[in-house]
Amino acid sequence: MNIISVGVNHKTAPIEIRERIALSEVQNKEFITDLVSSGLASEAMVVSTCNRTELYIVPAMSEVNCDYLKEYLISYKEARKEVRPEHFFNRFYCGTARHLFEVSSAIDSLILGEGQILGQVKDAYRIAAEMGTAGILLTRLCHTAFSVAKKVKTKTKLMEGAVSVSYAAVELAQKIFSNLSMKKVLLIGAGETGELAAKHIYAKNARNIVITNRTQSKAEALAEELGTNRVLPFETFKEHLHEFDIIITAVSTKEYVLNEPEMQQSMARRRLKPVIILDLGLPRNVDPEISKLQNMFLKDIDALKHIIDKNLERRRAELPKVNAIIEEELVCFGQWINTLKVRPTIVDLQSKFIEIKEKELERYRYKVSEEELKRMEHLTDRILKKILHHPIKMLKAPIDTADTIPSKVNLVRNIFDLEEPNQSHQ
């Protein structure tokens, strides 16, 4: 019994290859169903995101190896011209388990600790379960991976701190103000960057968000999407600058949108209450001289990148803790896999004793009353349970390594005179 994983990801292949080999949800369902129904695999799952397409397979025949699966996927996607086997990685058995644990806990992600991947692995498992291609092995593997991810999230700081510019902007605002719901936010520019920043700050309970944009309809559309419905005309927004505690600028312009004299005037009007200006524009939207004003915190993209770098550094420092969690779960998973190897022997052992019990009871069926027979059956069940308890416990003992299992199984089979295990049990 083996688990194989092959696939392409951001570490093994460039984006054009990853795009070429990616599977949509419909393709994913079709692909794993084909693999299992054609008898190539007994279990199959595909994790397909923008950064990776990875197959997790329990082969049903010895011919199905890594090279076979790579070719199978390439031909399914009809990508023989662009994609080569060298773009793939291979993992076997515990290596597969370790890889899925690393993927789920986000240490294999392009951005270390990004939280989306766990949801994507869960989706992959859901699809496999729906299609009936997730059996005992993949189910256990996936649930252990989810447990690893949960432990990593709760016991380490791998997922803490902003690692995108718009998130870093919000993190910085929260380091100045306690409660963003009490603060008035001005968003200058309703483009993609501005929208992302507005959504992040809205998610942190900022509700008083006013939007201004050269094209007013875009500002109105974003305000409606956020549910704030507050828009200021671009021509007049400077008259209201003193009202805002947080100003986010993200416009495409060569001239400064905010200059030092008008901000100085605004600060005087708000009696030097702190203001944070987050300049997300490139080229910069705000005159850097403004940062010299008292209680004015002006931060551009470079400053926010300092926060991201520090946060990534802190995340990297958590890697030993994450690896320790993975190692621990890997040992448990390995022990569980070993118990699968002894399962046929346990089943045979139990069957043998039940058979003996039934034969012996049969001899007394017409010699004793029905009530007495029931009592005898109950008694023999209890005796069998106690006799079998220790041998079964010994077989399942988690300290075993894969190497010691065959000798142990053979010993039990010889002692109890069990027939050779049926191939279907394996």
Partner: protein, 292 residues
Amino acid sequence: MPEPVRIERFPYRLLMANIFLDNNILFLLTQIVPLLYIMTAALYGVHFFNELPQAGKLKQPALILTVIAHVADLGVLTSMEGYRLSYSAYNLLSMVALTLTITYMFIELTTKSDKTGFFVITFAAASELFTSFLAMHSSGSGPAFSGIGIGVHLISAIFGFSSIAIAGLYSGLYLVLYRQIRLNRFGLLFQRLPNLEALELLIMHAVAFGFFFLTITLIAGGIEQRSSGGNINLLEPKLVTLVTIWLLYGISLFIRPLFGWDTKHMAVLLIALFVLITLLLFVMSIITPTFH
């Protein structure tokens, strides 16, 4: 200031020696309390700088244990005098350490924020250690006084100083964080300290409480003086110092709405006041073992 009824007549050192010899529990507590302060400050420090989970789990129980042990220590010590506090530098500084710790514990339990504990507890531990030093070298008398007026005067002075200390410490933290953000230094202090607005709120509350307790201190002192029939000497150094501090604190409460001062300037003023008052206290404790 009033001349209250003195109960204790023995030299302080002799009294302490006798107390310790006769009372094993007091001896034990007096040794343990400073150690508990050091241990708690160390746990808060390790958790703040290294985020060691064990330190995080142990620090709050250690804080509570320190407070309980300190209260027990003061209880056993004052039980010798019918639970009246001795007005020695020893007891006053020890009380400052205790009230600071209790105030911080209240802040931590109510705000669930433990990020400033290291700074407050370290100051409290330093006060307690200085207290131990004074106890060893004190040779003056440490009289206990009776009367509600002087009791209120003393307790409110202790709480007043604790508030001043907290305002000063948080002002320092405010300025550090302010500077870190301005200079784009997003390191450990940026990550761990509460945000600027939260620190500002703590500072303003501490100033308000400080002013309130100093006002009570002045009023209670005046009432006690009148009831004991003494004359108030307006040029008495301790009275002048107290009134000056009271005025500066009062002004700092209204300086913002009146003159438009921002928190940064307020923080500088509060640190200056805290340093000034701490120096005055230490100097007075060295010159005389009693404050009255």
